[in-house]
C-alpha cells in the first residue's frame, strides 16, 4: 500500500504542469527481485485511485526479469545457478530486476 501511495505522490508531481489533465494510463515496471507482488500492487492501486482523485486511471504492469552477469567478463548467470560466473569464476552482479519504477503516464488534456 505504501508503494502505491508513493506512486500516486509521483503522479501528483508529474501532473503539476498539467492542472486540467485527466490521468488515463499508468505504466509501472516491477522487477522480479523487487519484493513486490504484482497482483497485490494492482489491488492496492484499484483501491486507492478513487481516493487519490484518479478514478479513471488504468494500470499497466511490466514485469522485468532478474538478470545476473559476471562482473569480470559479462557472462550471464542462469536462474537458480550459483552466483558465480560459469566461464571465469568471477562474482555475479545483479544488472536488472530489483526495482520498481513509474515509467510512463498518459494524460488527457484540453486542446486549446
Amino acid at each position: 500500500m505504501s508503494l502505491v501511495d508513493a506512486l500516486f505522490d509521483q503522479v501528483d508531481r508529474a501532473l503539476e504542469p498539467h492542472p486540467q489533465a485527466r490521468l488515463c494510463h499508468v505504466r509501472v515496471r516491477i522487477g522480479e527481485l523487487a519484493g513486490v507482488e504484482p497482483e497485490l500492487f494492482r489491488t492496492a492501486f484499484e483501491g486507492l485511485r478513487q481516493e487519490r482523485r484518479y478514478p479513471g486511471a488504468a494500470l499497466e504492469l511490466v514485469w522485468q526479469e532478474a538478470l545476473w552477469r559476471c562482473l569480470l567478463c559479462q557472462t550471464t548467470v542462469d536462474h537458480g545457478d550459483f552466483l558465480q560466473c560459469p566461464a571465469c569464476g568471477g562474482a555475479a552482479q545483479l544488472c536488472q530486476g530489483d526495482g520498481i519504477y513509474l515509467d510512463h503516464l498518459e494524460l488527457e488534456v484540453p486542446d486549446v
Partner: protein, 264 residues
Amino acid sequence: MCDVCGCGDPARTKLVQVDVGASLLSKNDRDALVLRQRFRELGITALNLMGSPGSGKTALLEATARALGGQRLSAVSGDLATTHDADRLTRAGLTSAPITTGTACHLDAAMVGRALQDHPLLGESMGHSDYFFIENVGNLVCPAIYDLGQQANVVALAVTEGVDKPLKYPVMFKNADLVVLTKTDLLPYLPDISVAAILDNLARVMPKPRMIQLAATRDQGLQEWLAWLQEQRDQVLAVGPAKPTAELLRRASRGLRPVAKGIG
C-alpha cells in the same frame, strides 16, 4: 461537452505522453541518505537486523549486549503491536525504543528518523554509542526493500525454518551482507536440517554468501559474530566521522536538532 465557456461544442482534448522513469522508493531513498549521513557524522555503526518472526533477532541482540557489556549499544525494534522486543533490549542494557508499526510489515527510513526524534534518550545515546541496531519487523519480504541508512544488512535465519528459505525469499537474502544461522543448539534434534544445504541455497541468491552459526540464548558461537561486528566497526573508525553536508546544515538551520546530537 465544453465545460470552459458553455458554448456547447464537443470538448477538444489531446493525449499527452509523459516519461517519468522514477523509482517508487525514491522518497525513502532520500530519507535513508539523510540517516546514513547522520550515522556517519556520529561515527556510529548502524546495522539493519532482519528475519522471520521468531528467528532469534532479539535474542541475538541480548547476547550481544551480554558480551559487549551493554554500554555502547543503541537500538530500535519494529513490531506491529507490542513493545516487547524493545523492552527486552532495554532490560539487556541497550538504549532502545520501540517502533510500533500497526499494519505496516516493515520499517522505512522515515519511521526510524521519527523514532530517533521522539525518544530523546535514544537520540542522545547515539552520540556515544558504537553500534545502532535496527531490529526490523519480523518478515522475510518487505523489510528488504527499504533502505534505512544502515551500513550492513544482517539476516537471522533459525535452523528450525528449514533449508530452503533463501530460495523462497531471494529478495531478502540477495540484500544480506551476513546471515546468522541461529538456534544451532537445536541441530541435534533436527535430522533433516543440513547446514551444507543452507549454504548451497544461499550461494544461489546471495552474491557474496557469508554465514555464521550460533546459539544466542546459550552464548554459543558468539565469537565469530562479535568479530564480524568489530570488522564493521573498524570500517567506520577507519573513515572517521563525516563532516555535516550542506543539506544537513540547511536542515539544522531550519530549527531541527543540532547535527552533532541525535537524529532529527
